[in-house]
């Protein structure tokens, strides 16, 4: 077994065992932290598909997380206060909300991706950023859903056989989802589709000359990634029970990117490790000082300047 696989498995085992132990010994706070970490790890894993494997520097991923959360919040709001019944969207059923979150995000990814992917390099970075900001402002301007102030989700998603009001069950769902997300991304990137995606990252012109339409493959990956981030958003809405446009601010997208790079892009376990390191570090630093963004920012700069390959770089196998 390669050192990377081992590191990933150990981390996943710890993540499965420690939070429940903390919870049953009266430290509910650490379970909350672990749940948030796990959900963000799903979002980072989805970003890794296009960023780490596809080389597409998308700076708008938080918009998908936010849209996913609103796809839980808006039906729950209408279920409580009326409206949208005729569309069947006044509901607290997770079996409606979660597919809605994924479909909305897939559609948004399809439409914006079709435009973004026509461009390259720095244009792509800025355009993904701008489209995410467009969603941000659109949500801010809709007063019915709280605008700037956000929206409280009064009732969590109802799923058969699960009670998401129970923190352990919510964590369990997030954990299983993370495992599934990691396995799905691993499967996709090793498939023939994934070969094209990775090849296009390394040398798009070469892959085109082989007769492969890189645009179509990238757009497909972009849509899959968006839908997966939407799923993470639906979980996040259920976790925080409060959603606001702030969730999709571009600085949130930057944090997701940092998680991927910190852990190691283009590896199965990297985003999860990155998310864990990010959340734990954020928690520790913010205990010491309210100015924790300062050392955090310096650390980010240092990571970019001085390390290559992220945390996974430490677990490189021997050649």
């Amino acid at each position: 077994m390669s050192p990377r696989t081992l590191a990933t498995l150990v981390a996943m085992a710890l993540l499965a065992v420690l939070p429940p132990v903390f919870y049953y010994t009266g430290n509910a706070f650490w379970l909350d932290l672990a749940t948030r970490l796990t959900i963000l790890a799903i979002a980072a894993t989805s970003l890794n598909l296009i960023l780490g494997y596809g080389g597409l520097v998308s700076f708008g991923h938080a918009a998908y997380v936010g849209l996913g959360a609103y796809a839980v919040g808006i039906p729950a709001y209408h279920w409580l206060y009326g409206g949208l019944e005729h569309l069947g969207l006044a509901t607290t059923s997770g079996l409606v909300q979660i597919p809605l979150a994924m479909a909305t995000c897939a559609l948004f990814a399809l439409v914006t991706g079709a435009i973004c992917l026509r461009t390259r390099g720095v244009y792509f970075i800025m355009i993904t950023m701008a489209f995410a900001q467009m969603v941000y402002y659109a949500i801010v301007s809709i007063e019915e859903y709280g605008g700037d102030d956000g929206l409280v989700i009064d009732t969590r998603s109802e799923l058969p056989g699960l009670n998401l009001d129970d923190p352990i069950q919510l964590f369990g769902l997030a954990y299983v989802s993370l495992v599934a997300a990691m396995l799905i991304v691993r499967m996709i990137t090793r498939s023939r589709f994934g070969m094209v995606l990775r090849g296009a990252k390394g040398n798009a012109e070469r892959v085109q000359m082989m007769g492969l339409n890189t645009y179509a493959y990238r757009l497909t990956a972009y849509v899959i990634s968006g839908a997966m981030a939407g799923y993470a958003g639906a979980l996040l809405g259920n976790f925080t029970t409060f959603i606001s446009p702030e969730m999709m601010d571009w600085t949130r997208s930057g944090e997701l990117m940092f998680m991927v790079i910190l852990g190691g892009g283009g590896t199965t376990g990297g985003p999860m490790l990155g998310a864990a390191a990010f959340i734990i570090l954020e928690e520790l630093l913010s205990h010491f000082t309210i100015y924790w963004h300062l050392p955090f920012g310096l650390l980010l700069i240092a990571v970019v300047l001085f390390t290559r390959g992220g945390l996974m770089g430490f677990f490189r196998g021997r050649k």
Binding site: T119, A130, F296
Partner: protein
């Protein structure tokens, strides 16, 4: 639709457009010449506002404060080039983005440490507190005209510098062909430092000019940077002319869209529907325009010539 509101909003749009140009011109310069993506560019917009605010209180005169603050922000820009950007030129854009994202956190928290969590209001000189009454309904605050004049002057000065000075010639040459400038034996490090400093001073100036209206506050740059991105994408990255035209276009469309879109919608839909859909659509307007421009011209309206 009432005409005096139209005039006022057009002036507001012009003001926004010129401020956007000041921020976007630095971004487009730095990208065009150095191929460097600087997210922290708008932090200098924020720092310009804060530094100017402090200086206004210290020296008691807003204009003197601006004059001192300009070289200070330029120096900060030079520092960013020297310590953050320079080691990263050979890396890919992803690294630029991440490092300058970290820099934003540092600058924002530093501002928090120095000036506290609240914003700082900047008092205007007595002379510009007045209003210009063009007619009974048409009243324009004098300071808005000052901003427009200052923005035009800065744009004009920049144009003169780029077209008539040696530095400008190097900048133009660098934007279209980086290797050639290096081959000419120019001190490229000095040129890069100057470009960063110039961009920082321009962004800082925008922050200083807006501070008396909005006050200096943490995170004020984080909103403006995305709009500046939209400007340089629409204009064509690296093109100064494109940045100017796109900045005015975006400034006007955004401002006029927010105030008149519901009136326009009422012409062909029910007032209720117009009231509901106009705010969301006007918030998205500039992004929709960006998408349309890109769908037709992926390189923007004025793509720079062959690199």
């Amino acid at each position: 639709m009432d005409t005096s509101l139209l005039v006022i909003q057009t002036l507001n749009g012009l003001q926004l457009g010129l401020l956007l140009f000041l921020v976007a011109s630095g971004l487009t310069l730095v990208f065009g010449i150095l191929d460097f993506v600087n997210l922290a560019h708008a932090s200098l917009y924020m720092l310009g506002a804060f530094i100017c605010a402090s200086l206004t209180y210290a020296v008691g005169n807003f204009f003197l404060a601006v004059l001192i603050a300009l070289p200070v922000t330029a120096l900060l820009g030079w520092g960013v080039e020297r310590f953050i950007a320079r080691p990263l030129y050979s890396r890919d854009h992803l690294d630029h983005v991440l490092a300058t994202f970290g820099l934003i956190l540092v600058f924002d928290t530093a501002a928090h440490l120095i000036w506290g969590p609240e914003g700082i209001a900047v008092p205007l000189p007595q002379a510009f507190r007045g209003q210009l009454e063009l007619s009974e309904t048409l009243v324009i605050p004098t300071y808005r005209l000052v901003i427009i004049a200052a923005g035009l002057a800065a744009a004009g000065g920049l144009y003169w510098m780029v077209t008539h000075t040696r530095l400008g010639m190097l900048i133009r040459a660098g934007a279209s062909n980086r290797r050639m400038v290096a081959a000419l034996g120019i001190n490229i490090e000095l040129l890069f430092g100057l470009v960063f400093a110039l961009g920082a001073a321009l962004a800082g100036l925008a922050g200083m000019l807006i501070a008396p209206i909005t006050e200096a506050s943490i995170g004020m740059g984080n909103q403006v940077i995305i709009t500046a991105f939209v400007v340089i994408i629409v204009g064509g990255i690296g093109s100064m002319k494109g940045a100017f035209i796109a900045a005015l276009l975006i400034g006007l469309i955004d401002t006029l869209g927010r105030s008149f879109l519901d009136d326009i919608f009422k012409l062909f839909m029910s007032p209720d529907a117009a009231e509901n859909s106009a705010p969301a659509l006007s918030a998205m307007l500039i992004y929709i325009i960006m998408a349309c421009v890109l769908a037709l011209k992926p390189q923007g309206l004025f793509p720079p010539k062959v690199r």
